[in-house]
Symmetry: D2
Subunit: 347 residues, 4 copies
């Protein structure tokens, strides 16, 4: 018995990935997909790759979608839109998953600081579990609203959470240096996203000010039981998909060489989508491309007194659409891997 | 009831793609995978992308594989190896599919000319149906041996076959200009395949002498009922996967503007893996990447008196491993799309 | 004694390349560079790569530039703008070179057909020599107006001109299959130029209808002494710079194996920027990147009765800015290679 | 009056870059270039890009080169070779510049630890000035032997030296996260350098153990006046050229917001090859590609109590061949920018 799905904002990359993944999902079926600027057009006009999967689906308007409702609604709208639409969406479906940042931060005061405006529905904050199953699986079971994490926080938290939770690294002085493919910036017509500008180029951006920073800090603070600040630096690199987060922390006193690895083994030994690599191997984005998988690795560098941990994900799958489906599976009591048993291409 | 599969030569890209595709196949299960130079190693050492799909599989030797046998054997060996092993392989499995060129050409005299040596088993030639289902589906049903087409011929024939069969273009003067990603050359340590050599570069190679030429000619000649020569020029372009074949032919006298499109509609209207694009749209490799799909398009240019047709495929899937699985499905009487219902990633 | 240069339309890629090349020119000095949408901004804001070369230059408006005048004016404006401005430009400078298509075609009737509108100054057509020095060096010496060829025609003509001029190939049935890096489409915010759309992709476009077609035909017809039609198909491939034109023609009766090579040796034996490769080698775009050089090669395929010729250039240099400087050098009586003695990077 | 140059090891990328740069040098002329595995072959066979610059030069053997001698010898050999050849090289030329690591470290004990073997000529260590002109210009003037820095140390030191020298950051806890194009690994036939493996991929390597670490530490320690350890993590990213080093340090007590910028202005205000970017802009590898230039930027993040600094260079030019030429210019009393006044391509 298949459940119906509606997608708000299906014309962007995350929305298109939802369409791709749900086409193969055994229990979820896309009933409608909104895309205001493309309303009335077949989805295959914008995404020829979806021709076989959705030969007859056209984008509807957001209002048409909300009016129809569904068993599950995914919101893949630009940041700021979901907050204003939350009441309508939750009225239209018993399960709503928001891929934007609008319900990720629990402290309303952070929105003006990092997003430049007051939150439109501050009373909602905190009632949307943060949808990183590896940290919050229990909260997600049976949830009716889910705030799906950002791409950078997903990679960063997968690399750092075991270390912070176990107290292997100090909470002061954590550095996250992240590298992202350009699809993370969406299908938007910006000069720096042009092939001839992005090719053969790497550069940091939003140094010290990227909006994903408070999200990483919030989740690590919850694990540490104390406030903390993270130095987060995103970089754009010349590839389409993938994020690698390389993370650095000062070893806590008395930590032994095996402690860092042990806490990773404990964290990920039974996770269906996270591969802890053997010592000496490091995550590669290619090894997880187009799938919901993550690779993680960690090393203790006694010479410098620091731990170095890294995680690789596909920014559009485990960093967005795939993780949203994973959360929906958990919320609905379906097998967590339903529709997500994809094998990454070798080359 | 699942059938067992053995793969001879699984350490190359085509072999790894077979592993990837078969991991999701409902009726076929990989029992063993040989890779002589990697024998004894886990497949995940060479292909970390297969970690979740094959946590416990190690490469065996070719001899070990042949000794075990299987319901289906795929041979993904270098050209020249399959010919010598055919007797052993067909003794070890009731269905053998060869991804090399060794049984594609029916005329033994072509092997010395194009491959530089006599064929080791000329009596076998002709008894391996040429595994392009869009041309030879009837021959493939119930087959016990299949010669899986080359990547360039697959794309070239999908673009040209309807025109030649319908007599829309003359058999004299056909030009195929093909562009391939570098994975087509395999995972071999060659200077021209290095990133720093292949990036930002395009160049033709083997002009007038590429081994896939006689294969294209053989199949077109069968359709035309007359011998013909094709000017085939392959190019290496800076991408990992995908082939685009752009094909040119002189319009036959009396051909009308609609004839070329009509023969494509007839050829591909019911094909499960081939998308005929609307007029004005042209095939893109990205739109079929990592899947068994093909895009085709054609136009009649009355100003020049020529038809231009193009086809895009993923060279490792529809151009190799995927087509092999498609042929196996047909040979075994399974649904033709079993294990191949993949949706290409959008970006 | 340095001459002053003005650039109309310096904010696009061709204009920026003019700035790059002229920074090292011994006899030409940029006095002003217009860019209406960027007027008032330092050129280094838009092109940080020019920081050392032009620390103090800001874009002016087109009107400011024309009012100042110069010894040489390069027009790097969008097609259609130059035609209307020609009178002003030629009044403002004794030498004007137009990098757009506006004065390339001698037959005014071709503009409505291929460019969609009547030519604004048809009486000017024919008085702007076509600036391909390898064909028209004599006309360019002392010229006051030059129509700089398009990028595709430059590569196509370098490959085809020797064959057509010598009668080695028939004028009927010529095919040009060209592959271009994305910078050829300029620095414009178009969806298909986004990294995530252009990466790992190849596709033909404007099949049978690209505007560079009549330019190729005009020049070949002049060499052949008869009208002809060329089947021209451009492709976008995932690289930033470079064009490769692969060209096909039917061998004329009686042509011997050596004829095709001989006519190339005669054409290019003394050309300062064209390298005829040894038999068996084929042009690579990487080998000419960022410079005004071209590589050419040809083979006679007796099996098919066709000649295959190819040329590689950097689309922004020999295909635009570099060729414009080469033409200016010739027109001014300077050494033809002045400012253009660049060595391509190895990797 | 031109000086003669010999290159030991000219068949690799750094050697080819020396050939490229020296082709345009007003005072240095390449007399010979050795490449043992390519001895006897024209340099243009291996580097078609050098066709116009070196139409008649062939690789000689190392012994032939040393026997001829020259005014200047550049050694671009694999690590470990230069140490053994130093005596012969310095006997053969009054100025020798080594692009390998063999004379960069002053403490002989570091070689077994980081390079796995004893130094063959420990008494030589310390007499080869470390050729980073921005730090050691005085030592380089008139030098007869120069140890040219590694690519990663060049970028890392340009970003960190001003901060460490001025005491703006603590010496404890410095992190360098570096991203390199694949040409940094040389023209060697390794699986991870294949296009189909490196494309669409990013991964750290040699975490905590890369050989460039002690070089960075040595130079920073000299500036700080105290020993220190740096956490250095190199990454391979999918591009051919360029390195970006993103560097992190804890702010020293009492540092004000302006201190970090001020020390950069002081360090680089008069440097001919280093561009300090305006606040808010960050280094891009594309903006320095194929040239000897560097971009640097820094920010003080008071929220985290850290400084973030970054530098971009072309790994083969400022990170190897270009810096070697810059050092030679200084040693010989030539203008420091001779032969190095290249303008980076815009796109």
């Amino acid at each position: 018995m298949s459940r119906t799905v509606g997608i708000l904002g299906a014309s962007g990359y995350a929305g298109a990935e939802l369409l791709r993944l749900l086409a193969r999902h055994p229990d979820l079926t896309v009933a409608w997909a909104s895309g205001d600027s493309s309303a009335g057009q077949p989805v295959t006009t914008r995404y020829p790759s979806l021709t076989a999967a959705y030969p007859a689906l056209s984008f509807c308007t957001l209002d048409e979608g909300l009016a129809k409702g569904a068993d599950v609604i995914f919101m893949a709208l630009p940041h700021g839109r979901s907050g204003a639409l939350a009441a309508q969406a939750t009225a239209a479906a018993p399960l709503v998953l928001d891929l934007a940042a609008d319900f990720r931060l629990h402290d309303a005061a952070l929105y003006p600081t990092w997003y430049g405006e007051e939150h439109p529905a501050p009373s909602e904050l905190g009632s949307w579990p943060y949808g990183l199953p590896e940290l919050h699986r229990d909260e997600l079971a049976g949830a009716t609203k889910v705030a799906v994490p950002g791409c950078y926080p997903t990679a960063s938290l997968l690399a750092l959470a075991p270390l912070v939770r176990a107290g292997v690294i100090e909470t002061d002085g954590i550095v996250v240096d992240a590298k992202s493919g350009v699809s993370g910036a969406g299908r938007s017509l910006k000069d720096n996203l042009l092939y001839a500008q992005a090719d053969e180029n790497v550069s940091p951006y939003n140094v010290g000010g990227h909006r994903h920073t408070p999200e990483i800090e919030q989740e690590l603070a919850r694990l540490a039981g104390t406030d903390l600040a993270v130095q987060f630096t995103p970089h754009l690199i010349p590839m389409t998909r993938g994020i690698l987060a390389t993370c650095y922390g000062r070893l806590a006193p008395g930590v032994t060489t095996d402690d860092s690895r042990a806490c990773f083994e404990e964290a990920y030994g039974h996770e269906p989508f996270v591969d802890l690599l053997p010592p000496g191997q490091w995550p590669r984005t290619r090894a997880v491309a187009t799938t919901n998988r993550a690779q993680v690795a960690v090393v203790t560098d006694r010479r410098t007194g620091r731990a170095v941990a890294a995680a690789s994900i596909d920014n559009l799958v485990k960093g967005a659409a795939g993780q949203a489906v994973q959360c929906a599976n958990i919320a609905l009591g379906l097998p967590e891997t339903a529709g997500l048993d994809l094998v990454p291409p070798g080359p």
